[in-house]
Amino acid sequence: MEKAVETSRLDRFLDSDIWHSFKGNPVAIVSLIITLIMVLSAVFAPFIAPHDPFDLMKIDIMDSSLPPSWMEEGEARFLLGTDDQGRDILSTIMYGARISLTVGFASVIFSMIVGITLGLISGYAGGRVDAFIMRVADIQLSFPAILIALLIDGVARGIFSSELHSEISLYVLIFAIGISGWVQYARTVRGSTLVEKNKEYVQAARVIGIRPGTILRRHILPNVMGPVMVIATIHLAVAVITEATLSFLGVGVPPTTPSLGTLIRIGNEYLFSGEWWITIFPGATLLILVLAVNLLGDWLRDALNPKLR
């Protein structure tokens, strides 16, 4: 029985508009492949990275500041060269992408949970609750997300001692980036909820006495998720950029667990002495990742937009 449901779901997916649109769009296919390669190599970095850049026993100061392997003085062991401490750039990028993507996904999920919950409540309850939530959203929206994330990080530094802060800074960062992004979800979900709640299936559910919480979760939520997925995809790109920016400014993750932004910051100091590869490769990785995710988001928006069909 279970099996039958499973196959029919797969069949349904293979025959859906989304899948057909995806198959016919080379840009979307390439973007998805690039994104998957990056995510997988970040997830499995401990197994596939050529070196372990954080094992002090294995890095050798004699290998420091080597250029990429195709240049003169480059060594085949280090494909993209090494940094000032002799760490392999390719490996640090894999580990760095791991941190960047962890923060990115976690803060998107955090924003989604807060935003969807508040959006559903706002749209379904209406009245004063709605007015209050939307006012808060308006005020927050009038400030750039990066400024809010910076402030939360700054306040956290004041509240926690510096050792405790570097220990929990990853969570502070996720909280800061997550909080700065909930408004878009809330607004979109509220709009869809306002439309859905007057439809007959919701009225029917209400008439047979289902509790509001259940109606929101089981009936309205699945019907407002389409636009949310589009926002989430594009928000992932924004969250990764925000994390990189904060780490670049030196207020993000601690230098002991460098993300892509931290790597770029470290490399930036060596730009003038000609060691461009320490900065440029992490930077290019970040750019390609963000570009691929953005293109995926663009495609998803067009594919889910009934007006363009």
């Binding site: 770029i264 930036n268 461009w276 930077g283 750019l287």
Partner: protein, 324 residues
């Protein structure tokens, strides 16, 4: 119109009030203000005396009103780290940030609007395709990475342009300007391009989308049918009708320019308010953070008000009915 403006004014006051409350809470509850002001060897009596003198034992509301009153006249107390008035530090650094933001805003409008119009009119042209592809890269490229690439190319490889600081500045009373010296103007080029690029691509895409929308409407077809030259149709009729959303976004982006200047300023070591704010976060210098927050909020609210008033100037439809 008057009732609408009044409503907006009220809203702005609420926003400023909220921000001031947040800033005050930061100042009062993050760390102990007394510990941050005195040295290790200050006795408990002296601390208590200072606490009483500064009014930190007063009720919350009284303290907040005092804070808000002082903030309204630009008094934010002393920096914990530098022991000088925050207002002085801000006054010293504001010209650098405002000049940078101003030039970037001009740049993104002067380049962004024509590019948007062009890409909308010649949709299939090679140049349009290139511009659109570049704009996607521009949106995906983080500000600091743009800065680094520009530094690498124009500063390190070609050695054409300075890559840090403001160059020589001229003092005009309370304002220091970099516009009047050669090194000042050269120093402005890379930071202002860095800061402008994101807004530029945004404005270009927006103008393009709006133009395409307007070009499909009946009154454009009618204007063409009347035999008006393309030039008049495109610029007098079409472009004019895209301006309302362009003004909205540009206005809002102007605020973001000041905030994004934080990033540009730290890449180029530009001695503005943003660099000061980043250093304040690293040092947990709360008075500076609070002052910066209130100041930025003020800029945002002010810009929003101006944008709303501009609507009336640009869109006659809003003048006929209540509009709000």
């Amino acid at each position: 119109m008057v009732s609408f403006l009044f409503k907006r004014l009220l809203q702005s006051i609420i926003v400023m009030f909220t921000v001031a409350l947040i800033a005050f809470s930061m100042f009062r509850f993050v760390g102990d203000p007394i510990n941050n002001m005195v040295g290790q060897d200050t006795s408990q009596e002296e601390r208590d005396e200072l606490r009483e003198k500064l009014g930190l034992n007063d009720p919350f509301v009284v303290q907040f009103l005092r804070f808000a009153g002082n903030a309204a006249v630009g008094d934010f107390g002393y920096s914990y780290k530098y022991k000088i008035p925050v207002s002085e530090m801000i006054a010293e650094r504001m010209p650098a940030t405002l000049e940078l933001a101003f030039i970037s805003a001009i740049l993104s409008l002067v380049v962004g609007i024509p590019l948007g119009v062009y890409t909308a009119l010649r949709r299939e042209g090679i140049l349009s395709k290139i511009a659109m592809a570049m704009s996607l890269v521009g949106v995906s490229l983080p500000t600091f990475l743009i800065g680094i690439l520009l530094i690498l190319f124009f500063g390190v490889v070609l050695r054409w342009l300075p890559t840090f600081g403001r160059g020589d500045v001229v003092e005009l009373g309370f304002w220091t300007t970099g516009f009047l010296t050669k090194s000042g103007i050269l120093s402005l080029i890379l930071p202002s391009i860095t800061l402008a690029l994101f807004q530029l691509t945004l404005i270009m895409r927006l103008v393009r989308a709006e133009m395409l929308e307007v070009l499909r409407t009946d009154f454009i077809k009618f204007a063409k049918a009347r035999g008006l030259p393309d030039r008049a149709v495109h610029f007098k009729h079409a472009l004019k009708n895209t301006l309302v959303p362009v003004i909205t976004i540009t206005g809002l982006q102007l605020g973001s320019l000041i905030a994004f200047a934080i990033i540009t300023e730290s890449v180029f070591q530009w001695p503005g308010m943003g660099l000061m704010f980043i250093q304040a976060i690293a040092d947990v210098d709360i008075p500076i953070m609070a002052a910066y927050l209130v100041l930025i909020a003020f800029f945002f609210v002010l810009i929003n008000m101006i944008v709303d008033i501009l609507y009336y100037a640009v869109d006659p439809r809003l003048r006929t009915s209540d509009g709000s």
